[in-house]
């Protein structure tokens, strides 16, 4: 895995006596889709925040495309090539959907027309085009999640961090999204790191799965391999089955 796009080496984070992330290492190859799974409180979102620069790790390092980005600010992480979504969506409510995505697109270009064109393309790809002129605050929750993704994509990341963007979607919508991401990754060579409770999406989308529990990596491997791992079955899938029920 020396040719990895993103390499996470032994990162840790501690909050007031709680070891949220404990010496976690994994890698995402170029164009690869890796899922980070685990029960609630396993440290997935914290890991995301560490990678995206929202938090500074207590130890370990994060390397993107050969450059060490450990401890950088979120905007620096973004400029290094990390695009992220938030689990609790953060739309720019007063701006239109198009404008939201244009904010992201401005990372690559200062030209308004170019940014606008790029934003349109992404909106069409994610099926938000007909909502383009609506204020973001009028969107439904699934639409907002898609907007999050669109905005992050607009920054032309090398790797996209998706934090539970499928939650609350109907199965048909999930399949649609899965297809969209798979196409995107195949066509553009975009790498994706996702956390997801919707196992249907995880299994369909990811090439590789990393399982976290109590902040530690307990297992990793190909999807079917992980699904058979007794440790995972014991500590994780029990929860996951519960969590997969609608509304969980």
């Amino acid at each position: 895995m020396s040719a990895a796009l993103l390499e996470v080496r032994g990162i840790s984070k501690r909050f007031r006596g709680l070891q949220a992330v404990d010496n976690v290492s994994f890698a995402v190859p170029p164009g690869g889709i890796v899922a980070l799974i685990g029960p609630n409180g396993a440290g997935k979102t914290t890991t995301f925040n560490l990678i995206a620069g929202a938090m500074v790790p207590d130890g370990g390092s994060i390397v993107l495309d050969g450059a060490d980005i450990t401890g950088g600010r979120p905007d620096q992480a973004c400029r290094a090539g990390i695009g992220r979504t938030f689990q609790l969506v953060k739309p720019f409510g007063a701006l239109s959907v198009l404008q939201n995505v244009m904010v992201g697109a401005f990372k690559a270009t200062a030209d308004r027309v170019a940014a606008r064109r790029a934003a349109w393309e992404i909106l069409e790809r994610l099926g938000l085009a007909e909502k383009a002129e609506n204020p973001a605050k009028t969107l439904t929750l699934p639409e907002r999640k898609r907007l999050e993704t669109a905005r992050a994509l607009a920054t032309r990341p090398k790797i996209l961090l998706l934090d539970e963007v499928m939650a609350g979607l109907r199965p048909t919508e999930i399949d649609q999204m899965v297809r969209a991401f798979a196409d995107l990754s195949r066509e553009t060579g975009l790498a994706i790191l996702l956390t997801e409770h919707v196992m249907r999406a995880v299994m369909a989308l990811s090439h590789h799965i990393v399982v976290l529990h109590h902040g530690q990596k307990i297992c990793e491997g190909a999807p079917e391999q992980v699904a058979r791992d007794p440790q995972v079955l014991e500590c994780y899938l029990g929860h996951a089955q519960a969590a997969e029920r609608p509304g969980a």
């Binding site: 992220r84 938030f86 739309p91 720019f92 701006l95 904010v103 401005f106």
Partner: protein, 332 residues
């Protein structure tokens, strides 16, 4: 037509704007000196509101101490004029630089230490008040005794030295306010405007999209401060006398921000609409209350009017008005 498209206006809105401009250009020929003096107050309020709007309306950082930049602009240019005879056109650049520097420093200190929201607002008050007291003791600019610009009663206006009649100031302010309008519009249409609004709506999300929030906030503050200082120079040369307690007054900071809030925070025309409405309201009430001979009545109605507006149109009158007139401005 091209101009109207460049401003993103519908033909109807462009016509309305054209009409408004024509009226404003002709107004001094149509009304008496009293109305002109009131219009000067309106334009000052509009311009200061537009300047403040960049900081708070666009970039979302609530500043309650903008009198600081009015004062820095006014005092810098006036002191340079009084002590060295420097033309106000250069003095205003110096004033803008001083204000931009002060604004950046305040913003840098605050945002570096992650002071935000209400705390930032209170910090801006503190800086303004602190500076007021400093100037109360600053002998070179007259301290509490005041700084006076020599008043020359010229037969003709002298725009080079900014000595002249209210009508001259009316046109200067009109140009300034239009320039601020065009500038605001063009900023909103660029990356920086998008970034400011993103920061206003959600800082964390803005950061995740690669925006150096700290830098953009400082830029907003510096620009807003510099623009305010430019108005401060005009104020100094219009009033011809400066006292720290009136120039830097907290009351002025508050007056600056009422018009844009009433008009519609973050909109292009809100500050202008708000300024017309508030000043008009104030004058009407003053004229009415002289019949009743009760001091305090005017202020009471003023407060009641503010309350009514914030209760009925909390996001400002312009969005509502433009919809009612069919001039719907794209919500930015």
């Amino acid at each position: 037509m091209r101009a109207s498209r460049a401003l993103g206006l519908s033909p109807r809105a462009a016509a309305a704007l054209g009409l408004f401009l024509a009226v404003m250009l002709l107004l001094p020929f149509l009304v008496n000196a009293y109305i002109v003096s009131v219009l000067v107050v309106v334009l000052f309020a509009a311009y200061f509101g537009q300047s403040w709007n960049i900081m708070t309306g666009f970039a979302g950082q609530l500043s309650l101490g903008h009198a600081l930049y009015v004062g820095l602009g006014a005092y810098t240019s006036a002191a340079l004029f009084v002590h060295f005879g420097l033309t106000p056109w250069l003095g205003m650049i110096a004033g803008m630089a001083v204000a931009a520097l002060a604004g950046s420093a305040i913003a840098a200190l605050s945002f570096r230490f992650r002071v935000g929201g209400v705390y930032f607002a209170l910090l801006t008050i503190a800086f303004a008040e602190f500076t007021r007291i400093l100037f109360d003791h600053f002998g070179w600019v007259g301290a509490t005794e005041g700084l006076f610009l020599p008043v020359a009663n010229l037969a003709h206006d002298d725009p080079v030295r900014l000595r002249g009649s209210p009508v001259m100031f009316y046109y200067l302010l009109l140009v300034l306010s239009l320039a601020a309008l065009v500038l605001s519009h063009s900023l909103l249409d660029r990356r920086v405007g998008y970034y400011w609004q993103a920061i206003r709506e959600d800082e964390e999300a803005a950061r995740a999209l690669g925006i150096d929030v700290f830098r953009y906030k400082i830029a907003a503050m510096a620009l807003s401060a510099a623009m305010t200082a430019l108005g401060g120079t005009l104020l100094a040369f219009y009033d011809n006398n400066l006292y720290p307690d009136t120039v830097f007054a907290m009351g002025r900071s508050i007056e600056i921000i009422i018009a844009p809030i009433i008009g519609g925070l973050g909109t292009l025309f809100g500050p202008i609409v708000g300024a017309f409405l508030l000043t008009g309201l104030g004058e009407t009430m003053t004229n009415l209350s002289t019949y009743f001979e009760i001091s305090g009545l005017k202020q009471w109605f003023y407060g009641a009017a503010l309350l009514a507006i914030v209760a009925l149109q909390p996001s400002g009158l312009w969005p509502w008005l433009s919809r009612a007139l069919g001039l719907w401005e794209r919500r930015r």
